[in-house]
């Protein structure tokens, strides 16, 4: 069987809150294949944010195994993990999370810097990516000088910087109005068509149903339902 690009096997994440233990994620199984558009959906407190951190290898599991491109991330040290994360996963955050003292172009160049890409290559690739998200005329602007939608498009360009296999988007439209949100989603869909794997975390069923191909519905730290779009209809799968 195809090992999958990202795989969570019986993963659990517990937090200590004083005396009690909070089981944010408890026995979760998720498998993402190359080229998928996956939505991890759930209401707040369902454990979807914890799930996203685990999928993005930003956090380590209490129990279970997480595989990134066939490698168990538990076996990697912090530095290797940072390198792999930088190369394989592009993050898009709800808060955009651009670095305020760098221009749009420099923000896009930053992930490539940590991968040791030469300055010339970084510059030309950043320009290309910003053109792709239709921000050629905003390259030398600082985040503070950009609108929310523009900032999120810079973040998308940054996520694509190292040509990752997976784009991990956490509520990508959460801080945007409907129209700008649509535009951002259109970009994500476009990248998916071009072969990128997209994992989107959202609380919004409409967003998930409209754009994703696979939905993991999360409740109480477990996958409650797995749905797949077949001929425009949602069907459960195993």
């Amino acid at each position: 069987m195809n090992p999958g690009l990202i795989e969570l096997k019986e993963v659990a994440k517990y937090y200590h809150m004083g005396e009690s233990i909070v089981k944010a994620v408890d026995g979760m199984n998720i498998k993402v294949h190359d080229g998928d558009f996956v939505a991890i959906m759930g209401s707040s407190g369902s454990g979807k944010s914890t799930a996203m951190n685990l999928v993005g290898s930003l956090d380590l599991a209490t129990k279970g195994d997480i595989y990134l491109d066939g490698i168990n991330i538990e076996t990697l040290d912090e530095s290797d993990l940072a390198q792999i994360r930088g190369k394989k996963i592009g993050f898009i955050f709800q808060q955009f999370n651009l670095i305020p003292n760098l221009t749009a172009k420099e923000n896009v160049m930053l992930p490539m810097m940590f991968q040791g890409v030469s300055a010339d290559d970084r510059s030309s690739r950043a320009e290309k990516l910003l053109k792709l998200v239709e921000l050629s005329d905003r390259m030398d602007h600082y985040p503070g000088q950009l609108s929310g939608g523009e900032q999120q498009r810079v973040a998308i360009a940054r996520a694509l910087a190292n040509d990752p296999d997976v784009i991990l988007a956490d509520e990508p439209t959460g801080n945007l109005d409907t129209k700008t949100g649509e535009k951002v989603m259109a970009f994500l869909e476009d990248f998916n068509k071009k072969g990128k794997t997209i994992i989107m975390v959202t609380h919004d069923p409409k967003l998930a149903h409209e754009h994703a191909k696979i939905i993991y519905q999360i409740k109480d730290g477990k996958v409650e339902r797995k749905l797949k779009k077949v001929n425009k209809k949602w069907k459960p799968f195993r």
């Binding site: 951190n53 993005g56 930003l58 956090d59 912090e78 530095s79 940072a82 390198q83 994360r85 930088g86 190369k87 592009g90 993050f91 955050f93 999370n97 670095i99 305020p100 003292n101 760098l102 930053l110 992930p111 810097m113 940590f114 991968q115 040791g116 300055a119 940054r158 910087a161 190292n162």
Partner: protein, 402 residues
Amino acid sequence: MIRKEIINYSLRNLVHKKSRSILTIFSILIGITAIFIFISFGLGLYNYVNDFKTSSSADKITVMPKGMSAPGMDESFALTDKDISAIEKTSGVYQATGLYSKVAEVKQSSIIRYVFLLGFDPDKPLIMELSNVKVIEGRMLKSGDDGKVILGYNYRIENKIFSKAYSLNDEIEIQGKKLKIIGFMQEVGSPQDDSQIYTTTDFLPSLYPVAKVNYAMAVARVDISNIKQVVENVEKELRKERGLEEGKEDFFVQSFQEMLDTYATALNVIIYFVVLIALVSVIVSAINTANTMVTSVLERVKEIGVIKSIGARNSEIFFIFLFESGFLGFVGGVIGVIIGFNFTLVTGAFLAKLGWSFLAPSYSVYLFLGCILFATLTGAISGAVPAYQASKIRPVDALRYE
């Protein structure tokens, strides 16, 4: 991995937080400026003392009246020619000579000044070797130089002692007599020494016809290898000569070496003390730098999370913060040294103008480099702890941080 880009990234941060960076640099440079000033003046004093130690003064001892008064002021104490010859006969003493030291009235137009007039034997110029001052213009006194004097440095300068400066071969009115100037001494650096007048022991008594003039002190050149023993021998011989019991001497014998050692010890204590004060200010500025760095880390936890999520290694984050604090230290050090250097130049020149030229700053390459290195290390070390903590923050925690 340390890359140009990461350094660039740090610099961008520092520029972005301009006022914070400037304040941090300021707090470091105050400490460094203080250290630089203290050490350069301390070094100057140290060199001044060291010059004496290796000079012709080292093999001299002096015999002076006991008590607080300066030689020549206490008329009740007198050294006679018999005393001098007793000193000269003591084992370990090569040569001894008596010195007159009197207060003299010097007049220019209607202005009168009272200065010290020193009479020494030109054939035994031990006092000149002791004080280590040389004639810079004209010539030294020689025996038979009646009515001739050598003046201290300050007489050559307008408005220092008198409004008009004296030059070689001029006449100067001392004790109501016109005397010929045959030379000037080099600058010593203290107003009293630089206003002194020198003449011969043969001639000096004729300026004081009323009273009998006695030697105010004696100087002897001695065997330096056993200077302590020589001092004791001289004390013993003088006691015998003057008929005094041990412990009731009206004179005291001091070797120049001993005097310098005491002086140097006292000076070292002062130097250590000022360096200590400067160190305290450096510690304060280090704490301030650490404080700035901790705040800076807390402020940027989220940024740390972001750059971690896009591939920054712990080591790279550590380096970013370490470089930032080290760089602030370096800049503070450079500016501090520049300010300190200029300050010592100005105050050194000012002190020299006041006649305190022995308080001259002294510099060495190590002082400059040391201060800058010290500032850089202070910055780096005070930034290291928060930098290490910053690098250890887990991306998930950092991203959640608001």
